[in-house]
Structure formats: C-alpha cells, structure tokens
C-alpha cells in the first residue's frame, strides 16, 4: 500500500506565506527607519575582517534571528551596536541615535545579554536586576515592579535572594537575560541567550522574548538553536564572513532550498529503474532512496512514469537546519 507522510519540522506550509515578513517587508532592506539600522559596518582585526559590509535593519516589534557559523561576525556586530568596539567604517543607529556620535544615548536604548555570562558571583539575583534597572533609568517604584515582573517571567522569584555564584547554569542564564530585559529597553540584543540552557530555561526565555516583542521591542537574537527561531516566528538574517548574505522571513529563505523525497521501492531491482534525471540527486540509505528535491510531486511522477513501484513515500520539507547547513555557497546563491 502506498503511504505518503509529510514530515514537518518547520511552522507553516512549505510554500505558504505564513510567518514573518519577507525581504520586501518592513525589515527587508537596510536604510529604513528601523529601531536598529546598521549600514556597511566594517571591522578588521589585523588581517581578519570580522565585519565586511554588515547591513541589518530591525523594526519595532520584530524579532530577528541572526544566525551564522562561528566567526561569521555575529558577536562583533553586537559589540559594534553596543559601542564596545568602534567599526572601521559604516554606521549604526539605535532609535535614530547614531551610536558613534552619541554612544551613551544609544546605549540607553539597549538591553544586552552578552554571549558570555557576565554576573557578579557574590551579588544576589535581586542585586543584579536592581542595578541594571537603575542603570536603565528606572526610578525606585518602577525598579521594584520591573524586577518582580521579569523575575516572574523567567522563574527567578524563588532565587532572588540567592547569590549568582550558587545558582545553577540555567538560573544564571535566566539572570543574565533578566538583566537585559529588566530596563524595558526598546532594542534587545540577545547573544546566544540559551547557550547550554535546559529546556525550562529555554521555554521561559522564549516566552519572555515574545512578550517583549509584543510590547514593541525590537530584538536581535543570535543562536545556533534554530528551532528557537521557528518558535519565536523570527525573521532571519544569515551572516557569513562578516556580512548578512540572506535576510527575510523564514519561509522565504527556506523556499528556495531543496527538501528530500524518501521512497522505498517494491522489488530488489526496482532501484535500477530510477531515471537518469534523478540518479544524480539520489542516494541509498539502508534501502531507502533519498532524492534531493525542490519539487517532490514532479520527481515522484517521474519515478512512477519510469515504472518504479514505491511502497512508501516520505517528503521531508526543507527547514532551518537545511538553511543553516547550506549557509555557505547555497545560501549565497539564494541571497
């Protein structure tokens, strides 16, 4: 019996239009009046170009997943936005404030969770949150409310009096993220905020990020955990060699990538009937033929026309993992 099963790893239809705005949407091009606008950022360390024409615009309420291999320029970009490094060229503005000309005013609009844990071991969770709330300009009553809200969101209420040095890894991650969120900044830079985090930490953090975006904050979220970006409904910016090589909604970027047609054929010699047009894209994995395909229905029709008799057919849709694996030449072409 022919069985057809669709494997869905991503949200939304393969060729559908659901999801985040695409390249032509509000965040698609640099130079718009975004909460974050980076244009042509360049930074060189010795002979290495950490940033090489990095463009990115993020609108209020938008979550942008900034992905790329290690060394792609993600963290350097975050450091340029925070003013911790000075780019050799290009400009970056936060809420219309030029970071180079008025770095303090720009930083006042930021909430930052750096990639590395940056906590005071002898200070309590409340000490941390209070400090960053006050540095964000909140007054006394607002400080307490903000601390209580973010502690509740990130499940830190029970450990507010605990020193950071005695917290678990997940609690430290949440404390770090809470310190970024507590000030209510309109732009959040979250650099791998769930690295090494447990599922509970990840779920709490993602919920808090979604809530901040719903409140209108623009969020740049770097990660290697791609399912998080699907959960967040984030737009994507794919970084490679110091620049953004692909930008848009998840479905828009995935759309151009091939998925896989997986079939098992009836009869041992049936595989020999696979037409030459498909043979170059076909590999045999434990008796299952896997055909790389951008159009599975057409490829399946080709197989049937050639006399192949499938006993099962699976279609694996392209997902963010495929995009990530294809970051280099494939995504460059897609971009």
């Amino acid at each position: 019996m022919l069985a057809v099963r669709m494997q869905e790893k991503t949200t939304g239809p393969w060729n559908g239009t659901a999801g985040a705005p695409g390249p032509s949407g509000p965040s698609g091009g640099a130079g718009g009046a975004g909460m974050l606008v980076a244009e042509g950022l360049a930074k060189r360390y010795g002979g290495r170009r950490a940033l090489d024409g990095f463009d990115l615009t993020v609108q209020p309420g938008e979550i942008t997943g900034l992905i790329g291999h290690n060394g792609a320029g993600k963290t350097t970009f975050v450091e340029a936005v925070t003013g911790l490094i000075r780019p050799d060229a290009g400009r970056v503005s936060v809420g219309g404030v030029d970071v180079r000309r008025n770095p303090r005013a720009a930083r006042g609009l930021l909430g930052v969770a750096p990639q590395e844990l940056a906590l005071y071991p002898s200070a309590t969770v409340r000490d941390h949150l209070r400090l960053f709330a006050e540095l964000a300009g909140l007054r006394r009553g607002a400080v307490h409310r903000a601390v209580d809200r973010v502690a509740d969101e990130l499940h830190l209420t029970d450990v507010l009096r605990h020193r950071a040095g005695v917290l678990s890894g997940g609690q430290r991650r949440r404390t770090q993220a809470a310190a970024a969120l507590v000030g209510g900044a309109p732009l959040l830079l979250l650099d791998e905020p769930t690295a090494g985090a447990d599922p509970q930490t990840r779920a709490a953090l993602l919920a808090a990020v979604r809530a901040r975006a719903a409140d209108g904050a623009a969020i740049v979220y770097t990660t290697h955990y791609l399912p998080e970006l699907a959960d967040l409904g984030a737009t994507l910016a794919v970084a490679r060699s110091g620049r953004v090589i692909a930008r848009g909604g998840q479905q828009d970027l995935i759309q151009g990538l091939p998925g896989e047609l997986r079939i098992r054929l009836d009869g041992a010699d049936s595989a020999r009937r696979v037409p030459a047009a498909l043979a170059g894209r076909t590999r045999d994995v434990d008796g299952e033929l896997r055909i790389t395909s951008t159009d599975p229905p057409a490829d399946l029709a080709t197989l049937l026309a050639a006399g192949c008799a499938p006993v099962s057919v699976d279609v694996r849709r392209p997902d963010l993992d495929d995009l990530y694996r294809a970051l280099a030449p494939e995504v460059s072409r897609a971009a």
């Binding site: 750096p114 005071y120 200070a123 400090l131």
Partner: protein, 252 residues
C-alpha cells in the same frame, strides 16, 4: 532629585559597596595587618629616632606601606569585573567611564580611609602619636588616598591577570614604599635612592604626612598637590584605557 549621572553613579557605588562587604576577607586583612606591624615595629623606630620622631616614622611607614599594598583592593575590584565580563556589560549601558570608575572608587576610598584612620587612631591612642594640626593630616590623607585610587584603577585596567595584579601591588607597592623613604628614612639610604625618590608617589605621601604631623602647612600643601597630580594622571590613564573598547574580554 539626582540627575541621571548622579543616580547611575550612586547605583554603582551601592553595588560595589555590597560586593566589598559580601567578601570582607581582603578588607579585614588590610585593616588588621598594619596594626600588627605597627605594634611590633614601633619600638625599633623609637630606639633609632627617639620617642616622638620614632612613633611618627613608625606610623608613616605603616600607613604608606600598607596603603600601597591595599592597592589590591582597588585594582582587584576593577580586574575582577574584567574577568567576570561585567566590565563590558556595564559599559554597554548608558554609564560613562568616569561614572563607572567613580562608582568603584568611592567604596574603595572608604576602605582606604578607614585603614589610614585606624592606623593614625591607634598611633594616637596607643603609642602617643602627636597630631597637632588635624586638618593638615586629613588633607594629606585625602590627597594620598586619591593618588592610591588613581594608581589602583590604572593597574586594574592594565593588569591582564591576577598574577600580574599581585606583582603590581605587592612588588610595586613595596618598591614605591621603600623608594619613598617610608620604611627607612631617605637620609640613611644610598645617594641614588635619594635621587630617584621624588619619582615615587610614596615619597610625596611620606613628605605630606611628615609635614602634616609637623604642622608645616606649606610643605603639606605642596606635597599634597603633587599627590593630586599623580591621582589625575593615573585616573586619566585608567579612564582612557578602561573606556576603550576591549577585544573579546574572554581572552582574560
């Protein structure tokens, strides 16, 4: 109502005071050790220089030497921020480098002044140190404390590890203290030491304190002004170096 800069600085001061008091060991050590040193060695100084001059020299030697060693409190508070990556985290807020340094300096200043007040107080109460012009002594102590804060902040941003910091404050502190004539009067030191002594902040600290204890206003002011100059120079170095972008502080 404090302006924004004042509120930010106050928040950092409070935070750093909390950090210092939560780990009181280094502070307690810097407060107790000099009192032991003074108690044990003041008879030696009195035998060498007479009762009044001897106790004065013993107090000055203890104060300058151990306050230089207490640079570890200032430098350590800056270096630990860099090791914990919190330095860049704070710099990614609206805080100015000067606010950040002031926020760290004030609690450290309190610790240094407490140490010096304790030494002077014990000198007066237990060993008969004569303080005839208290305002001059306070002026000298304040000037010396500011110089220490500048030096401490500078080594805190320059040192790349706790090993380097230890070399700076232990070896450097002892050298500056000795060159300044704190432990042994310059009059009995080799001629070359007397020539290079004015390059040491310790020399001006000894000069300011000796002049203050001798009620010599002009000499106290002159030496205190030089100490203030050291404070400004080292403080600027710390602000410039600490405010500059660091490349991946994870290197530390």
């Amino acid at each position: 109502m404090l302006p924004d800069a004042g509120r930010r600085t106050a928040a950092i001061i409070r935070h750093n005071t909390i950090l210092m008091l939560r780990e009181p060991g280094p502070l307690a050590g810097r407060l107790i050790l000099p009192l032991i040193f003074l108690t044990l060695l003041h008879p030696l100084y009195q035998v060498a220089q007479g009762r009044a001059a001897g106790i004065s020299q013993a107090v000055i030697a203890t104060l300058v030497t151990f306050s230089l060693l207490a640079l570890s409190i200032v430098g350590g508070s800056v270096l630990t921020e860099r090791v914990w990556h919190t330095w860049d985290r704070i710099r990614a807020t609206a805080v100015r480098p000067a606010e950040l340094l002031a926020g760290k300096a004030v609690p450290a200043m309190g610790a240094l002044l407490a140490q010096q007040a304790l030494i002077i107080g014990v000198g007066v109460a237990a060993f008969g140190l004569a303080v005839r012009a208290l305002p001059l002594v306070v002026l000298a102590l304040l000037a010396w404390t500011l110089a220490l804060l500048g030096m401490g902040a500078a080594i805190g941003v320059i040192a790349r590890s706790f090993s380097e910091l230890t070399i700076f404050h232990d070896l450097g502190g002892m050298v500056l203290s000795s060159l300044g004539g704190a432990l042994v009067p310059l009059a009995v030191m080799p001629a070359w030491v007397r020539h290079v002594a004015p390059a040491s902040p310790g020399y001006w600290a000894v000069s300011a304190l000796r002049a203050a204890l001798g009620s010599d206003g002009p000499a106290t002011l002159r030496a205190s002004a030089v100490l203030a100059g050291f404070a400004v120079a080292f403080g600027l170095l710390a602000a410039v170096r600490g405010g500059r972008g660091t490349v991946r502080s994870a290197r530390m």
